[in-house]
C-alpha cells in the first residue's frame, strides 16, 4: 500500500515535468555533420620553381648597336622594371637609348638597331607608325609588348587602352593583340592570372626554354610565327573557355617580336622557371647582331670606328678637313672615332672620298659590296639588276651603274647626265660598312660631306645603296626615268671580295 502511494506521488511529481519537457523538447540535438574546419596549418604559400641561371659569357661584338626604348607615349612601366633586359643588352656591348620626348623620332630610329615599345597609352602619329614600319622593312627589330595589367583608359587625359595603340603599330605586319586576358584556375603560378606557357616549334628565341610563366597576358591574333602557347589549362577571360592561345610570336618575316606580357621579365619573376632564359634570348634578338643598313638610315651608317681613306689623286685639303671635323663630331656623339688613313683596316668602317668615274682602288672597294661602274658602248642602255627580293639570290648582289656616252644609268633612279651630280654609295660586308662619296670634282666632295651636317639625304634621289645628289641643280629636274620601271633593289647581302689589307694602288 505504501508502495502504491509512493508511486502515485512520484507520478504526480513527474507528470508536470514530463509534460513541460515534451511540450518544448522532442529530442536531442546531434550535430548533423562532423563540422570540420580547414586544416589551416597545412596550407603553404606556393613558391615558384626558380630557374637555374647559367653564367653568361657574351662574345665581344665591337659593332655599335643602339636599342631605342620608347618612353614618350605615357608608357605604363618604369624603366627600372626592364633592367633585367637592358642590363643584358649592355653586357652584350650594345647601347640603350631612352626616347623620353619623341623628338627627332625618325633620326633616332635610323640610328637604332632595335626599337622597344611597351604598353603605350598615347597614340603614335601616322608618320611615326610609317617610320616604324619602314624601319622594320630595313632590317630593324621591333619588340612590342601589351600587358593586361598595364592598360589605361582615361578619356579626360586622352590616355587610351594600350592594346589599341599597340595594334595600330603592328597592324602593317598583320598581327594584333586581343583584348581579353588569359588565366588558369587549376595550374597557375601563385595566382589564377599567372599562366604557364610552352614553346612551339624551334626558334632562337626559344633556345633552352621548356617552360615560361606569364604574369597576366593577352593572347595574339593574326598571321605570325607562334613561339609560346598557354598550356592545356589556360582559359580566356573573354569566353572562359580553353583553346590555342599564343602569348609570344614573330612576324612572318621575323623582324617583329610580339609579347602579350611584361611581367615575366620583371624582377623577381624573371627568376622563375625559364623566364631568365627568355629575357636573355630576347636581348640577343634585339642586339646580338647589327642590322643591315641602307642609305635610308643616313647618316647612321657606321657601327664601328671609321677610317677615312685617302686615295691617290684625291688629297684631303684644309676645306675638306673643316667639313670632316663636323663629321668627326657627329660620329663622336655616337661613340665612334674617325681616323684619316691611307690603309684599309680590318674591323673598321670605311669612308672613301673620290671623284667619278671611280679610280681602280675605289672600284675595287665598291666591288666588295657589289657596286660596279661599267662603261658600255652598247646601242641601248641596259643594266643588270639585282635579283628581286624573295627569289633565290646569287652569292653576290650586284648593282651596276652603267656609263654610256655622257649619261649614267642607275637602277631604280634612271638616266642622269654624267656631270652636275654627286654620288653616295653604300654597302656592307661582314666586317665593314663602306660609304663612298663620289663627286664630280674634288671641290664638290665638300657638298657631299655637308650632307652629314644636314643629317639626311632628302634632297637626293635615293635607293638603298645609291643616292644621286645635287651638284648645282636638282637631279629631279633633268633625270630621265627609264621607259621600263626598274626592279627595286633589296638591301644587298654580300661577302667581301677584296682583302682589307690591300693598300690602294691608285
Amino acid at each position: 500500500m505504501k508502495k502504491q502511494y509512493f508511486l502515485i506521488a512520484l507520478v504526480c511529481l513527474v507528470i508536470p515535468v514530463l509534460a513541460r519537457l515534451l511540450w518544448f523538447y522532442q529530442g536531442f540535438y546531434l550535430p548533423r555533420t562532423s563540422s570540420q574546419a580547414p586544416e589551416f596549418e597545412k596550407f603553404l604559400i606556393p613558391q615558384p620553381t626558380l630557374s637555374t641561371q647559367v653564367a653568361q659569357e657574351f662574345v665581344k661584338n665591337t659593332q655599335r648597336r643602339n636599342v631605342l626604348v620608347d618612353f614618350s607615349h605615357a608608357n605604363r612601366f618604369s624603366l627600372s622594371e626592364i633592367d633585367p633586359l637592358t642590363n643584358i643588352i649592355l653586357q652584350m656591348g650594345a647601347n640603350i637609348q631612352i626616347d623620353y620626348d619623341g623628338k627627332d623620332f625618325i633620326n633616332k630610329l635610323q640610328d637604332a638597331n632595335a626599337y622597344i615599345v611597351i604598353a603605350p597609352t598615347t597614340k603614335f602619329s601616322k608618320e611615326n607608325i610609317q617610320a616604324i614600319s619602314d624601319f622594320v622593312d630595313r632590317g630593324g627589330r621591333l619588340l612590342i609588348i601589351a600587358d593586361p595589367t598595364r592598360t589605361y583608359q582615361n578619356y579626360y587625359f586622352d590616355l587610351e587602352d594600350s592594346v589599341l595603340i599597340a595594334n595600330q603599330i603592328i597592324d602593317p605586319f598583320d598581327i594584333a593583340f586581343k583584348t581579353d586576358y588569359l588565366y588558369s584556375i587549376t595550374h597557375n603560378e601563385g595566382n589564377y592570372r599567372n599562366i604557364y606557357a610552352l614553346p612551339v616549334g624551334e626558334n632562337q628565341i626559344l633556345a633552352g626554354i621548356s617552360n615560361i610563366v606569364f604574369y597576366g597576358a593577352h593572347p595574339m591574333a593574326g598571321s605570325y610565327i607562334p613561339l609560346l602557347q598557354g598550356d592545356e589549362t589556360t582559359l580566356s577571360s573573354g569566353t572562359d573557355q580553353g583553346g590555342a592561345f599564343f602569348i609570344a610570336g614573330l612576324s612572318l618575316k621575323g623582324n617583329v617580336l610580339v609579347l602579350g606580357d611584361m611581367g615575366f621579365m620583371v624582377t623577381p619573376y624573371n627568376q622563375v622557371v625559364d623566364n631568365y632564359r627568355l629575357v636573355l634570348n630576347i636581348a640577343n634578338y634585339l642586339a646580338g647582331t647589327a642590322r643591315t643598313r641602307s642609305l635610308a638610315d643616313f647618316p647612321n651608317l657606321f657601327s664601328r670606328d671609321v677610317n677615312i681613306l685617302q686615295t691617290v689623286g684625291f688629297s684631303i685639303d684644309k676645306t675638306i678637313v673643316a667639313e670632316l671635323s663636323s663629321l668627326q663630331s657627329f660620329l663622336k656623339s655616337k661613340g665612334l672615332n674617325v681616323t684619316i688613313t691611307s690603309k684599309i683596316e680590318d674591323n673598321k668602317d670605311l669612308l672613301v672620298l673620290g671623284t667619278y668615274p671611280p679610280s681602280n682602288t675605289i672600284d675595287n672597294i665598291l666591288g666588295a659590296v657589289g657596286i660596279h661602274f661599267k662603261i658600255t658602248e652598247a646601242n641601248s642602255l641596259e643594266s643588270a639588276f639585282l635579283t628581286e627580293a624573295g627569289t633565290q639570290a646569287p652569292s653576290h648582289s650586284k648593282l651596276e651603274i652603267i656609263l654610256k656616252n655622257d649619261n649614267y644609268l642607275i637602277p631604280g633612279i634612271g638616266v642622269i647626265p654624267a656631270s652636275g651630280f654627286n654620288f653616295v654609295l653604300y654597302g656592307q660586308t661582314v666586317e665593314q660598312n663602306i660609304l663612298v662619296l663620289l663627286a664630280e670634282s674634288p671641290k664638290n666632295v665638300i657638298e657631299l660631306l655637308k650632307l652629314f651636317n644636314k643629317g639626311s639625304l632628302k634632297d637626293c634621289m635615293l635607293q638603298p645603296n645609291v643616292a644621286v645628289c645635287a651638284g648645282g641643280i636638282s637631279p629631279r629636274d633633268i633625270v630621265t626615268p627609264l621607259s621600263t620601271t626598274p626592279t627595286p633593289m633589296p638591301t644587298p647581302s654580300v661577302t667581301a671580295t677584296f682583302s682589307p689589307s690591300q693598300t690602294p694602288a691608285g
Binding site: 511529481l13 507528470i15 518544448f24 540535438y29 550535430p31 555533420t33 563540422s35 570540420q36 574546419a37 603553404l44
Partner: protein, 282 residues
C-alpha cells in the same frame, strides 16, 4: 458508520494533499526550472570589421553559455569583410555547432566572407532574390620594401612585413582555405567543381540552390522552423541575442568603407589589406 474497507478506499484530505497535490505542486515547481527554449537570432548586415566581429562573437558566446538558447539563426545581408574577422566568426560558429544547431538565413547578400561564415552552419536558406557566392580574396598590393632616410628599422621587412611577392602568394593560401571551408561545409551537396567555385562568381539564390551552395529558398520563418526542427524543439521563443545579451548595436557610422567626396561609400575598404569581400565594380 463506514466500515474498515470503505475507510481504506476513501482518501481523506490529508492523503490527497500528500499524494497528489503536493507532488503535483512540486512537479510544477521543478518543471518551472526547465527553461523555455529560445531560438536566438544574430544579425550581420554590415561589412565584417573589428567591431562587427566582436559584436557577433559575443552573441555566439552568449548562446554557447546559456542553455535556454537551443538554436541560433544567423541572419546575413553582408558583403564580407576582413579575413581575420571572418575566420573568427566561422570558427566560433563551428564550436557552437557542437552543442546547438546554427541555421543561416540570407536576406539580400551573402558574399565572400559572409558566405564563408554560412558554410560553417547546419543549414542555409535564402530569400529568392538574394545573391550568394563570390568565393575568393581581394586585396591591394603594398609597395615594394625600400629604405628611407628618416626611418630606420632592424630588418628589410620590419616595416612592410614581407616581400611584395609573398603578399600576393598569401592570397592564394587564403583562397585555398576558403575553398576548403566550402568543400567541408557543403560536402556531397555541392554540384559544381572546385574550379567553378574559385572563379569567384556571385550567383542568384536560385542558381546557388541548384549548385548546392545553399539548402533552400524561403523566408525567415522557414529558417526559424528549420532551426527548431534540427534542435528538436517547439513552442519556442525567438529572441535577438544582441538585445538579450545587452550587446551594443552596430554603429550607424561607416568606418569600414572608403567614402567618396560626397560622403558616399565606394564599396572599397578604407584600409589596404587582404579581404574576403565583394566589391562590385560599377
Amino acid at each position: 458508520m463506514p466500515n474498515k474497507k470503505e475507510k481504506s478506499l476513501r482518501w481523506d484530505q490529508k492523503q490527497w494533499l500528500l499524494l497528489i497535490i503536493l507532488p503535483l505542486l512540486v512537479g510544477l515547481i521543478i518543471s518551472s526550472f526547465i527553461p523555455n527554449p529560445v531560438i536566438g537570432t544574430i544579425t550581420l548586415v554590415k561589412a565584417i570589421d573589428d567591431s562587427e566581429t566582436d559584436r557577433v562573437v559575443n552573441q555566439i558566446r552568449y548562446a554557447e553559455t546559456h542553455p535556454e538558447i537551443r538554436a541560433v539563426v544567423l541572419i546575413l545581408d553582408c558583403p564580407g569583410g576582413t579575413i581575420n574577422g571572418t575566420e573568427l566568426i566561422y570558427l566560433e560558429l563551428l564550436k557552437l555547432r557542437q552543442t546547438k544547431p546554427v541555421v543561416t538565413m540570407v536576406q539580400g547578400l551573402s558574399a565572400s566572407g559572409s558566405f564563408y561564415i554560412s558554410v560553417g552552419t547546419d543549414y542555409i536558406i535564402a530569400n529568392p532574390s538574394s545573391m550568394i557566392g563570390n568565393v575568393g580574396v581581394v586585396g591591394t598590393i603594398p609597395s615594394k620594401p625600400r629604405v628611407y632616410e628618416e626611418e630606420y628599422s632592424t630588418g628589410p621587412y620590419k616595416l612592410w612585413g614581407w616581400p611584395q611577392d609573398t603578399y600576393i602568394r598569401l592570397m592564394d593560401v587564403m583562397k585555398s582555405t576558403f575553398l576548403q571551408a566550402v568543400l567541408n561545409g557543403r560536402g556531397n551537396l555541392l554540384k559544381i567543381s572546385p574550379e567553378r567555385i574559385l572563379r569567384g562568381e556571385i550567383y542568384s539564390a536560385s542558381d546557388a540552390y541548384r549548385m548546392g551552395l545553399i539548402d533552400a529558398l524561403g523566408p525567415l520563418s522557414d529558417a526559424i522552423e528549420k532551426a527548431g526542427e534540427i534542435a528538436h524543439i517547439s513552442h519556442y521563443e525567438i529572441a535577438d541575442l544582441g538585445e538579450i545579451a545587452t550587446i551594443k548595436p552596430a554603429t550607424a557610422t561607416n568606418t569600414f568603407f572608403e567614402l567618396d567626396e560626397k560622403g558616399n561609400s565606394t564599396g572599397k575598404p578604407r584600409e589596404p589589406g587582404l579581404y574576403y569581400l565583394y566589391i562590385p565594380e560599377i
